[in-house]
Amino acid sequence: MSNRVKTDRIVITATINGEERTFLADERDSLLEALRERIGLTGAKEGCNNGNCGACAVILDGRLVNSCCVMAAEVQGGTVTTVEGLATPEALHPLQQAFLEDAALQCGICTPGFLVAAKALLDHHPRPTEHEARFWLAGNLCRCTGYDKIIRAVLNAADEMSNGR
């Protein structure tokens, strides 16, 4: 019994940004809380905690999700990609580079969610139209930019990635 944890704590093992992590979470923790409070990955942001703003977006087993609406317990054995997992040691992801070059962020709080959502978009549709990009990203709120430069950055990154291949 010596290694029993408190009853409302659970042990979770998941692959996070390519690395297997085992951590202790409160059974009431959302994935967002677990990422931020238990693992220390604070790139995903809390803007609403009910799935309306997209600032906490992560990719879970290939699917774009709002991590505030997923229980931490659900990711047992799963694979999670957060904004911290987009760049390689050598280079930023083309989306990150495009966001910088196109000035697609002002305050930056929505940026991690937009980058993750845009990565999921390009994973599924490598050459989206402006219309498709706007609809795909409609679940991510930005209050600073009016979306203009974000959409341009996503389309420019798509060009860059397609031409690079």
Binding site: R36, G47, Q106, L115, C142, T145, G146, K149
Partner: protein, 757 residues
């Protein structure tokens, strides 16, 4: 870009370098308020009133305090109390007693969501559990939430001691009895009756605007540690670290230098993160528990208890001669202040007729308390509602006079030397340049075809701010310059300030490393607000550059054993002496240590020469008769930006302001029920524009340099939120022939008009 005066040749200004804080913000490393972590840190939660107006008879927190994991509970009784006064917040003012009462309600809860108690516990879940154990006995009182109802004799009274402050000649002083009308101001110029008598056409209309929230994506947060030696440290997302320091010191009654505020990255503010909501509460919880305490607002609480801007009622009357000359204008503006006095009606009153040279005008501004959250500054505070009413009347006037709406505006445009509502002459302004750029724009001159489509135009004005900014800089041995800033970077000011220093020194933007630091590490700096930061902070950066140039010349003179006046500092950063001697900035920087030491300089500026901003917008819409939805087909925003330091971020400010203005025009509003409870406190139900609601937003940067700034900077951030409401109102009328006098023009409102009874 449209340049209207002899353009200056710049090396760095006008280019588009990658912002210095960019990589941290795209990789998730940037630390915002919620990302603060300290060993032993407690997590807090705030209990809020379920009633819009209620007497608090008793608070029993004993069960919460007994819950394992709970370390402290506070109510307003734990605060030392506050005296009446007038605290300058930077963009607005506050009476400390009301500020304190808003942080934690004392004898009455004055709005749905008003904080009444706070808890600190070892984790967030426990803190939230504890809230449910706090018992509050309320005596529910009748509430009033509408500005006009609040002024009726029969209205429930929020503050029995409140009397109307009269700031106007000729307004009768009301009887000495309780009221919700906090103040009445009047601006007067010329002879109104004479002006209307000269008019051939007079139009008078009434308008209403809803309560709108700033809608920043990052909720308010504060982490505080009250050390055993009485030193208080606060980590928070704020537009003004020094403003927070002042407010915390006043409320907690500690000397101001005992408070250190560490500004974290800020996830949007738009005026809403100048006043404080959590910081002193976190500090008090920390003093009680002896541990750092983090407080974090839920989104629901953000909507219930922070922001918003005033809901308004206004009446505007304008008279003109047959040829379009405006002879007289009167505006009556009634603004909700929320639960405590202090709406932005004063600024609204001054903005109302600012684009126009009107000889006879009166503006009445009323500040009215209601059972809603205390309103906060929101992008051009007070201006959108006042100018919406004026611009909408002008569009009707143009139609009656059978004049082009831009022609009517040009005929009456404010210019350098004409006087504003306060009787002051305008400095060099770009109202005419903007109006002409709108009138000549291919969007304006193009033909619009299709069913249920329409076009509208409108102008906007905002003062722009000056105020105080401090900065320091150090030249490093590798030729890079560290720039220490007191201004929170809310959307690219590290870049815009570093670029102005780089321009002054003839080095690149990347050669300057900007840092935003805490209140102990830089001189006093006013808030990031009022579109003042790139203007006043830029002037401080320029002064640093001038000082560094002089010091570099002195050093070169010493090295070359010549007189300082024989050494020239060239615009490209080359330091040149006699006989062709020459050093680059980098080369000389490398010699500083061995020739007398490194160079460090500081500057504080207090600016009173801001350049006012004018904007003109053109919008095409299509109205869907089945759903009532208004689609924005095309949007063009023209603006006098003075000098665009980093054009991408100037465009971004304009596009963001337009998007917020479109939200005001079409979808955003607070819904209160009959009991005064807010019914749409979520991003799903408070409907801000999303990516598929908007087209690309074209920007036209008109550059009329501000003669009151070394680089011609005017502010750019605020004015673009002003024109969208009237421009879209006109476009909807053009599309379906119906004028709406209330915003937002939501699908429900439009359908009610279009559908048969």
């Amino acid at each position: 870009m449209v340049s209207t005066e002899q353009p200056k040749q710049y090396r760095v200004i006008g280019s588009r370098p990658i912002r210095h804080d960019g990589v941290d913000k795209v990789t998730g490393r940037a630390e915002y308020g919620a990302d603060v972590r300290h060993e032993g840190m407690l997590f807090g939660a705030v209990l809020r009133s379920p009633h819009a107006h209620a007497r608090i008879k008793r608070i029993d927190a004993s069960k919460a305090e007994a819950l394992p994991g709970v370390k402290a509970v506070v109510t307003s009784a734990d605060f030392p109390g506050a005296e009446e006064g007038d605290l300058d917040l930077g963009e607005g003012r506050a009476n400390p007693r009301w500020l304190l009462d808003n942080l934690l309600a004392s004898d009455k809860a004055l709005y749905h969501g008003h904080a009444v108690a706070a808890v600190a516990a070892t984790d967030q879940h426990t803190a939230e559990d504890a809230l449910a154990l706090i018992q509050v006995d309320y005596e529910v009182l009748p509430a009033v939430i509408d500005v006009r109802e609040a002024m009726l004799d029969t209205a429930p009274i929020l503050h029995p001691e409140l009397r109307t402050a009269i700031r106007a000649r000729g307004v009768e002083k009301p009887a000495d009895k309780p009221t919700n009308l906090a103040s009445h101001l009047r601006l007067e110029k010329g002879d109104l009756d004479k002006g209307f008598a000269e008019a051939d056409v007079i139009i008078e209309r009434e308008y209403e605007t809803a309560m709108f929230h700033q809608g920043y994506i990052e909720p308010q947060n504060a982490t505080a540690f009250w050390n055993r030696d009485g030193e208080v440290t606060v980590w928070t997302s704020t537009q003004g670290a020094f403003s927070v320091r002042e407010q915390v010191a006043t409320i907690c009654q500690v000397p101001v230098t005992r408070v250190k505020v560490v500004p974290m990255e800020i996830g949007g503010g738009f005026g809403g993160k100048i006043g404080i909501y959590l910081e002193p509460v976190a500090a008090l919880l920390s003093r009680k528990s002896g541990r750092p305490v983090k407080l974090w607002m839920t989104r629901e609480a953000v909507f219930q208890a922070t922001g918003p801007t005033s809901a308004t009622y206004s009446r505007v009357k304008i008279g003109a001669k047959r040829d379009g000359t405006i002879t007289a204008a009167h505006a009556y503006l009634a603004y909700e202040a929320g639960a405590y006095p202090g709406s932005p009606v004063g600024a609204g009153a001054q903005c109302a007729f600012a684009p126009y040279n009107i000889p006879n005008q009166v503006v009445d501004g009323l500040d009215v308390v209601v059972n809603g959250p205390k309103t906060a500054a929101y992008r051009a505070p007070g201006a959108p509602a006042a100018e919406y009413a004026v611009e909408a009347v002008l569009n009707e006037l143009a139609e009656q006079l059978e004049m082009d709406p831009m022609e009517l505006r040009l005929k009456n445009a404010s210019k350098e030397g004409t006087t504003n509502a306060a009787g002051q002459p305008w400095p060099r302004i770009g109202a005419v340049e903007v109006m002409e750029a709108v009138k000549n724009h291919p969007h304006y001159t193009s033909e619009l075809t299709g069913e249920d489509v329409g076009r509208g135009v409108a102008m906007g004005f905002w003062f722009n701010g000056g105020m105080e900014s401090s900065s320091s800089a150090t030249v490093n041995a590798d030729g890079k310059v560290s720039l220490i800033l007191g201004s929170t970077d809310i959307g690219g000011t590290r870049a815009s300030l570093a670029m102005q220093l780089a321009e002054t020194l003839g080095i690149t933007s990347d050669d300057v490393k900007p840092h935003v630091v805490d209140t102990d590490s830089v001189g006093f700096t006013a808030v990031t607000g009022g579109s003042r930061t790139t203007f006043a902070g830029g002037w401080a950066a320029y002064e640093l550059g001038v000082q560094i140039r002089d010091r570099m010349r002195e050093r070169a003179a010493r090295i070359w054993e010549t007189a300082v006046d024989k050494v020239e500092y060239r615009d490209d950063g080359t330091i040149a002496g006699p006989d062709g001697k020459q050093l680059s900035f980098q080369e000389l920087a490398g010699k500083l240590s061995a020739t007398g030491g490194m160079i460090a300089v500081s500057a504080t500026v207090r600016m009173n020469t801001p350049g006012p901003a004018y904007a003109g917008h053109i919008v095409d819409v299509k109205v869907d008769r089945d759903t009532g939805k208004v689609e924005i087909l095309r949007y063009t925003a023209v603006q006098d930006v003075g000098t665009a330091i980093h054009p991408s971020y100037v465009e971004g400010q304009i596009q963001g302001g337009v998007a917020q203005g479109i939200g005001m025009a079409l979808t955003e509003e607070y819904f209160y029920d009959d009991e005064g409870r807010l019914r749409n406190a979520s991003f799903l139900d408070y409907r801000m524009p999303v990516a598929n609601d908007l087209p690309m937003i074209e920007t036209v940067l008109v550059e009329v340099p501000n003669p009151g700034h070394p680089y011609g900077v005017r502010g750019v951030g605020e004015v673009p939120i002003v024109p969208p409401q009237p421009a879209i109102q006109q476009a909807v009328y053009d599309a379906i022939g119906v004028r709406f006098y209330k915003t937002p023009m939501s699908p429900r409102v439009i359908l009610e008009e279009l559908l048969p009874e």
